[in-house]
């Protein structure tokens, strides 16, 4: 049962995957587990689908852990999965959302990297694919999307932590998500979790111009940041990727926005650098709780503005 899972600690990939099974079994009326592909090292990429029925309903995409060392993101995603499932039928907002839309949640986008952070190098960020002609391994999967690929803020050096890869979508983890989104055809929001820095960002990163929906995205981002702050006072800075951090090409939300998914946001969760990627486990649940409020604000807006 998911009631015995400790959401307040970090887990191995096997333990997370077992928990996805528990959730799918315990809440089988609304939760199912899909496999959208396999990683470079042939680990399954599992997505939880939250749905109350219907066919090809409008849907919200959420992913975590594309950068493997950002452990609080995978942990928060599992907490959020339980929250969505257990709140259906109890919380008015989530109930009305799921009566109209589906949610797809990919808690571990980069499973090879995640396993590597547990077994070999806690600070690993990239995938684990081999790079031809180089002794260095891995591609930064958030520089590998077909959005200004190869532009500023991505490295062409396979040994760099921000190596963009040989071509857009070269990483099977990225390509699997792209294929899923394209095949679905009715994704209304694309939300991705990173850590750390406490930012809520919208496109663009590969260029420093405002997106066409700037006013709406900025207002929605600020409303979500305000919801996040309401719980524990955690402040999130809101803006485009280029204006809040730096110009970075090949990022996922730039691709999703240019693909036509208006509500494309990237969260950078806790903290601001006291612990960075090594956020203590005691902060997992507070982080997930506050993130949930921001996420809910965005999902409600998507529900009400199809």
């Amino acid at each position: 049962s998911s009631n015995s899972f400790n959401y307040g600690t970090y887990h191995s990939l096997d333990s997370i995957y077992a928990e996805l099974d528990h959730l799918a079994s315990e809440y089988s009326n609304i939760v199912s587990k899909l496999q959208i592909g396999k990683s470079y090292e042939k680990r399954p990429l599992y997505v939880l689908k939250f749905s109350t029925g219907g066919s090809n309903r409008p849907a919200i995409w959420i992913d975590a852990g594309i950068h493997s060392r950002e452990w609080v993101t995978q942990a928060s995603a599992v907490w959020i999965a339980k929250k969505i499932a257990s709140d259906y039928g109890k919380d008015l907002s989530i109930t009305s959302l799921l009566n109209k839309m589906d949610i797809f949640l990919l808690p571990v986008t980069n499973p090879d990297g995640y396993v590597f952070t547990h077994t070999t190098n806690r600070m690993w960020r990239k995938t684990r694919s081999k790079n031809q002609g180089s002794p260095c391994v891995g591609v930064d999967p958030n520089r590998n999307w077909d959005a200004g690929f190869g532009g500023p803020g991505a490295s062409s050096n396979p040994c760099s932590d921000s190596y963009r890869g040989p071509s857009a979508n070269s990483e099977v983890e990225v390509k699997s998500v792209v294929n899923f989104i394209k095949n679905h055809g009715n994704i209304q929001a694309f939300l991705t979790f990173h850590s750390y820095s406490q930012l809520l960002m919208y496109p663009y990163g590969y260029k420093c111009t405002e997106p066409a929906d700037y006013a709406e995205l900025d207002a929605l981002g600020r409303a979500a940041a305000s919801s996040i702050r309401s719980l524990y006072g955690t402040t999130f800075t809101v803006g485009s990727i280029c204006s809040t951090i730096y110009q970075a090409s090949g990022g996922s939300i730039d691709w999703s926005y240019d693909y036509g998914i208006k509500y494309s946001f990237a969260f950078e969760l806790r903290d601001t650098g006291r612990y960075g990627f090594l956020l203590p486990a005691s902060q997992i649940i507070p982080t997930a709780e506050e993130t949930w409020l921001g996420l809910k604000k965005i999902m409600e807006h998507v529900r009400d503005n199809p």
């Binding site: 015995s4 400790n6 307040g8 600690t9 970090y10 077994t119 070999t120 190098n121 806690r122 600070m123 803020g153 050096n157 040994c159 932590d161 921000s162 750390y196 820095s197 951090i245 730096y246 110009q247 650098g273 006291r274 612990y275 960075g276 990627f277 090594l278 203590p280 486990a281």
Partner: protein
């Protein structure tokens, strides 16, 4: 594949005041032999930069920063100590669960 350790690695927070200092950090980033891991990359002067520095490069990086008058503080004194604590906490929590 043996476990990679981070004994003596430090994480510095570097505060740049102008574009020139940002450019200096970008230069530092390009020096591959230092094997720096930028947790937050140098971008605009307003934002601090967090960088993990392997033990062997700590002195060189600090000397570089000091010689250019770039302000920094030590966020993590020894990364391995924090990693060991994380590992211990995980083991402890798993033990409790069992």
């Amino acid at each position: 594949l043996c476990l990679e350790t981070f004994v003596g690695d430090q994480v510095l927070r570097i505060k740049t005041r102008n574009e020139e200092e940002v450019k200096k950090l970008q230069l530092l980033e390009s020096l591959e032999h230092l094997e720096l891991d930028f947790w937050i990359n140098p971008s605009t002067p307003a934002l601090p930069v967090d960088v993990r520095i392997p033990a062997n490069s700590v002195q060189a990086v600090k000397a570089f920063l000091e010689s250019h008058g770039i302000e920094y503080s030590i966020l993590i004194e020894d990364l391995q100590v924090v990693l060991d604590k994380e590992k211990q906490d995980m083991a402890c929590s798993q033990q409790k669960e069992r």
